[in-house]
Amino acid sequence: MNKWEDNRAWFLVIPVFIIVAFSAILPLMTVVNYSVQDIFGPGDRMFVGVEWFKEVLGDSRLHEALLKQFLFSGLVLLIEIPLGIGIALLMPKKGWGSSLSLVLMALPLLIPWNVIGTIWIVFTRPDIGLLGSFINGMGIPFDHTASPIQAWITLILMEVWHWTPLVVLLAYAGLRAIPEAYFQAAKIDGASAWAVFKYIQLPKMRGVLTIAILLRFMDSFLIYAEPFVLTGGGPGNSTTFLSIYLVKIAVGQFDLGPAAAFSLIYFLIVLLLSWLFYQVLQNAGKGGA
């Protein structure tokens, strides 16, 4: 009798299974399906095994895109996390100043991603853009459509402008959650501001910073809309990140098989790295206990 009642409970989970199946598993299986077949047309396909995976893994342009992707995510994390923590530390703790700075911080997060790209195209245009013409006016030739380095700088600036606020908001929430007694105790112990940061604020922010780093890593590793709008992957291939290259293969060249294999590898890389980050950060504060 008890067993029967327990089994019936599975019916309650079925809706979730159906939703997950349609939203995640079925599309993913389609991709797996494509990645092992050569498709010539509707109903005209051939099983090719790991052929596409071999082709994709040997593609030097993919290697190049992957390297650029790591460089981009690395730079973004190195700038955004310390900057975000720094801004959060400087923000007013209470009163209207706190509300105002929170609203200002949240603004870039409220803008649709392709609009961000468009804003920055206008902002950095060498002829009429506020930033672009200002830099040119100072005598430094600036045109991100011509110089790969300048394209990178512009993209990273845009990314930092767009997403540092997320880190700020998370870090700020983490800081506000530290009980006042810690700061009072530190005062009594004669701790310097640096010691307070190192021994109280930073350890207490570990949880939120883990989330911030994971989110920022995943988002920056998957970045598409902004560089697509701002640079289109150029000049040359200098800002062709993984997702831009993937779309070129899938939509531009209509190579569905390699694109599917590429997608799966991409997905696994993100999954693996996120897991690694999570493990490292979770253990960071516990070592030696």
Binding site: A181, K187, Y199
Partner: protein, 377 residues
């Protein structure tokens, strides 16, 4: 180690306080002895934490000065005052080992590593923390964590006073007792001035030489646990100290008799002879009462109120409301002229159990009189 002089201290959290009620601390003028163990006892919101923060330097009082050993420290920040504080919950540097936690205040003050090590080992020994020195502080139990918080205060040999802000709140009941004993031991060993904030009277009474009872932003009484119990100088102290609190009965004093008024203010009469029924007072109290103004109240501790199953000379008849068993004693609740009285019965009296009426005797030496909430003396 220091004597603490609270010189006409008052504090308000409002910028421009107008009336008395704007003050969280009204007027406090007191000198606390060097090496004394003081407990600040009072209900939530009575101003005890405010006073503690003024002593520790986290708050600068709106009025008055505070002196440590005659030196004015009113404007000094906590780190310059040589005080240590233990908070309600353990405040630790989670990423550091127990040793580093204890060494932190010394290292911040630039002591050389040899003397830091010596002092930390010494204090760890006192607090029984030696086996944990290499462990991370974060992984320890709550009582060990509170000992580390305390240890960070003790390592500094220049500490004037250690302040405790309800430090046993998060500790398991069975460990509370242990930790309290440890505190007492440390106090005797190191002769530090200890100030202990709590709303738990048992903690206060067992910990302190002197208990400072606070109520509504004022110190209503400072005394030994015995003084507070036997001669509460304010009705609040009577209620707050002792479990259950003191019984109070409004009365009028006629010669050397206290005549109880019922809840409507009518004198209690003996129906048979239509005469006022009173409780005999000693000469000292009747003299005090004759000089006192305003409404008088008679107070007696439940412990001293005697209960009889039959009428005895000078006793008053009361209706039994309930009899509660508290293990090794019982609490009898009875109604006398509409007032609820409680009595503590330590001995088993079969005749009282199940009785509808009892006779209450008020031992003459344990009666106290209050006027305008204050003890007559």
């Amino acid at each position: 180690m220091a004597q603490i002089n609270l010189n006409k201290i008052a504090h308000s959290y409002i910028k421009n306080p107008k009336s008395d009620s704007d003050y969280a601390l009204k007027l406090i003028d007191n000198i606390w002895d060097d090496g004394g163990a003081y407990a600040l006892l009072g209900p939530s919101g009575c101003g005890k934490t405010t006073l503690l923060n003024i002593i520790s330097g986290l708050l600068v009082p709106s009025k008055g000065r505070i002196l440590f050993d005659g030196k004015d420290v009113t404007e000094l920040p906590p780190e310059k005052r040589n005080i240590a504080q233990v908070f309600q919950f353990p405040v630790l540097y989670d990423t550091m080992s127990v040793f580093d936690n204890l060494a932190f205040p010394l290292r911040n003050r630039g002591f050389d590593e040899d003397s830091v090590k010596k002092r930390v080992l010494e204090i760890a020994e006192v607090l029984d923390l030696t086996p944990f020195l290499d462990k991370k502080a974060a992984g320890l139990a709550a009582d060990a964590k509170q000992k580390i918080s305390l240890g960070r205060g003790l390592v500094r040999s220049d500490v004037a006073a250690i302040l405790f802000d309800e430090p046993l709140t998060v500790i398991d009941p069975n460990l509370k007792w242990q930790l309290r004993c440890k505190l007492k031991e440390i106090h005797e060993q190191l002769k530090l001035t200890l100030i202990y904030v709590t709303h738990d009277q048992v903690e206060a009474l067992t910990f302190a030489d002197k208990v400072v009872v606070m109520y509504g932003g004022e110190i209503v009484q400072i005394g030994t646990p015995q003084e507070l119990f036997e001669n509460p100088s304010h009705k609040f102290v009577g209620y707050f100290i002792g479990s259950p609190g003191m019984n109070f009965l409004p009365c009028k004093v006629d010669g050397n008799m206290a005549v109880i008024q019922d809840i409507n203010g009518v004198m209690m009469k003996n129906n048979a002879i239509a005469q006022n029924v009173g409780i005999p007072l000693n000469d000292y109290l009747s003299k005090l009462a004759s000089k006192a103004s305003g409404h008088l109240e008679l107070g007696i501790r439940p412990l001293y109120l005697r209960v009889h199953a039959n009428e005895v000379n000078g006793s008053l008849k009361a209706k039994v409301k309930s009899l509660q068993d508290h293990g090794n004693f019982k609490i009898l609740t009875a109604i006398l002229a509409g007032h609820t009285l409680r009595a503590r019965l330590d001995e088993e009296d079969k005749a009282i159990i199940g009785a509808e009426d009892v006779w209450l005797e008020f031992p003459i030496d344990w009666i106290r009189l209050f006027s305008k909430e204050r003890l007559l003396k």
